[in-house]
Structure formats: structure tokens, C-alpha cells
Symmetry: C2
Subunit: 217 residues, 2 copies
């Protein structure tokens, strides 16, 4: 890493093989292997069998964003967390949902609309559906007590997830819920999770103005 930093090895350069490095640093090849593997994991090196290891030419900066449960997020900001389930009803998947998530028309869904608060101030507004065919047990949970988010995190395995981050203008309803001007720019996260081939849940999270997501590389 230092040698990449001080441009001893420049982007695109082929660096010495594992055996050679092991000799130079007086350690075992396995140790060099792990070091190189970890550097490749964070995108600093490109490795190919037989071809050797090169300093990444296009260091696609890989930023690891940690996406905590909202409660943790709020508490990490030193605020008190609370939330309200605004609405809750059974749904049938729309044509779009059916197609995008591979849901049968008959799949029973639970719809949830939740407002998350930090110190009584609105923090984020959540729209969510849950696939009851996969997680019927959630009907037995008291979702007023433990948010659906946390219930799922704790009780449902995860195999695949997809996040989309974007920006959008506050709708009339959102501006009222989040206590902000209409058309205010809001940070939006769409998240969906699958269990093997079954869509479990999809959420649209709209954060109150001022929210930002920070990450360090």
C-alpha cells in the first residue's frame, strides 16, 4: 500500500510475484497472498492468474457504506428514536410489482407506512410492502413496538439485497409528514431484499432535508 501511495509502483505497473515479495519481506507466501488479496478487495490491485498482479489502473473507488437500521442511525446522532405506523393494510401486487419482483398476482402483501422520528422531529418516511407468502409470522409481531425493519432484520435471513440512492422533490404529502417545504430536495433510498428467488420486502425511505450519508475509504 505504501509503495502504491508513494508511486514507487504506479497505476498499471506489474508488481513482483508472491514468491519474490515473500522473500523480500521475509515472510511466507500465504502472508503475501493475504495482503495482496486484501488490497485487491479494496480495489487497489488487479490480480489475474498467471498474468500477475498490477496496480489498478482505474481504481474504481469502492466506498463501503454502512446502512444501519434507522434506529441505530438516529441514536448514533445522539437523538431519541421513535416511530409511528401511520397506516397498514393488505395489498395485492400491482402489475409493476409482479413483473419487477416476480410476484404472483395472488401473493398476499402487507403494506406499511411509517414515520421515523429523531427527538420528535420527523427523520424519515417509510413506505414498505412485505411478502406475506414468505414471512407470514410477521402478522404475529407487534409492529408498533419493534419496527418492521428491525423485525425483519432479526427474523429473516437475507440472501440478496439491492439499494438505490437518489434525490427527489418532496410531494405535498411528504412535505407535510416531514415538516418541510413542498419540493424540498429529499434523499431517497430504495431497498429490496430477496431470499433466494423470493422477494421478501421492498422499502422506499425518504429522509428529511439535511440528511446525508457519509462514508470513509
Amino acid at each position: 500500500m505504501r509503495r502504491i501511495s508513494d508511486r514507487h509502483w504506479r497505476p498499471g505497473d506489474l508488481i513482483p510475484g508472491e514468491v519474490e515479495l515473500a522473500e523480500e519481506f521475509g515472510c511466507a507466501r500465504a502472508t503475501v497472498n493475504r495482503a495482496l488479496r486484501e488490497l485487491a478487495d479494496i480495489g487497489l490491485l488487479d490480480r489475474k492468474r498467471k498474468a500477475g498482479t498490477r496496480v489498478a489502473l482505474n481504481p474504481v473507488r469502492k466506498a463501503t457504506v454502512e446502512i444501519p437500521v434507522i434506529r441505530q442511525d438516529v441514536e448514533a446522532r445522539g437523538k431519541d428514536y421513535s416511530f409511528d405506523v401511520l397506516d397498514r393494510k393488505d395489498l395485492a401486487p400491482s402489475a409493476i410489482l409482479q413483473q419487477h419482483y416476480g410476484l404472483a398476482a395472488s401473493t398476499p402483501l402487507l403494506g406499511l407506512w411509517t414515520l421515523h422520528r429523531a427527538d420528535t422531529y420527523p427523520f424519515a418516511y417509510e413506505e414498505r410492502w412485505i411478502n406475506l407468502a414468505v414471512v407470514p409470522e410477521i402478522l404475529d409481531a407487534d409492529l408498533e413496538l419493534l419496527s418492521a425493519n428491525e423485525w425483519l432484520v432479526r427474523n429473516m435471513p437475507l440472501s440478496r439485497g439491492e439499494f438505490t440512492f437518489s434525490a427527489g422533490n418532496a410531494t405535498a404529502a411528504e412535505s407535510e409528514l416531514l415538516n418541510c417545504p413542498e419540493d424540498a430536495a429529499l434523499f431517497i433510498v430504495n431497498r429490496s431484499t430477496w431470499m433466494v428467488d423470493d422477494a421478501i420486502t421492498a422499502v422506499r425511505l425518504v429522509y428529511a432535508p439535511g440528511f446525508s450519508m457519509k462514508t470513509v475509504v
Copy 2:
């Protein structure tokens, strides 16, 4: 992973030790160790010496977002990339910059204002300053040909980077540049990179409406 998925091992559970697992799976402890380490890396397990390994109770979803050079981003969307340097001038760091980035008042900065395009449509507007005390060579580069972004990526090592994602309303100037209504919600990325203790560059990237950042876990 399967045992976590099918809830054989539930969140919070203490799983068997490495030696035991090695025996069960008929492999070496090193192999178990690597498997468990990788699962801990993606946030599925919590490990502590002597205390043992537990299934993560709060699986902080760690999403790895890849932040490519804008050109790659545009090209990945199947568009032609081009950009214009709108303005360029020498700057002295403001009091805020001095404090936040630890810059001396005398540090020479290069300011750059760039518009990135996808198929002639505005894609993102970039405001950037570069620390000339650290990278004086950039003055010799033709930044009309290769964007400052790419020049830096190729020529400058980075030891530390910080990203902040947020949303903001288009200012009058931005709405004109990005060809969108005033107050449109825009996705904003702030990025700054350090080389050891020296701030190299800081960028504010404002993406045209409709931009979204997608990531898979």
C-alpha cells in the same frame, strides 16, 4: 452462510468454534478461519477473541458502492462522454477550507468548474479545488483533454477519502447548467481525498435529475 440463511443459527447465537467446525467439515482450521473472516467482513458474523463467533444481531448492511470516474459511469450507460471546463482560476483557501482541510492560508489552490455531458446532455456539474502545493505537476497537464478527475486518479495516490451523499435543490445557476427546473432535487456527492495529512482535492458533484446510484449486496 446457509445455516444463517435457514435460521439454523439465529441472530445472536454463538456458533461452534473454529476447531469444531473444521472437524465437522473435514477441513483445516485455516479454511474455517478464512470462511468465518469473510462472513464477518460482510457483516454477517461478529467475532471476538476468546468470546467466540456470533451471528450478527444487527447485521449492519454494508453495501459497497463503486464510485467510478464519471467518464466510465457515462459510458457504462451507453452514452458518449464529453466535458467542458467552464472556469478555472487560482484560489486562496477560505477560512472554512483552512480549518476543515488543515490548509495554510498561503496554500495555492486551483479551482475548476466543469460540466460533464452524456450524449451532449448535461450529466453532472463539478466544482473542485486542487491543492497545488501537493500536486504542482497538474499545471502541466492539459485538463481540457483529460479531466482533472482522471488525471488525479492516474497520477496521484490517495491514502484516505471521504464521501458524503446528499440531496439538494438546484440553484438558479445549477438549473441552467443542468438544464432542469430551478429547485429540482439533485443528487449531490461531496468527495475529498487526502495523501497522508495533506488534502489533495475536494469535489462537489451535482448530478442532473434522474441520476441514481445503485448497489447490490
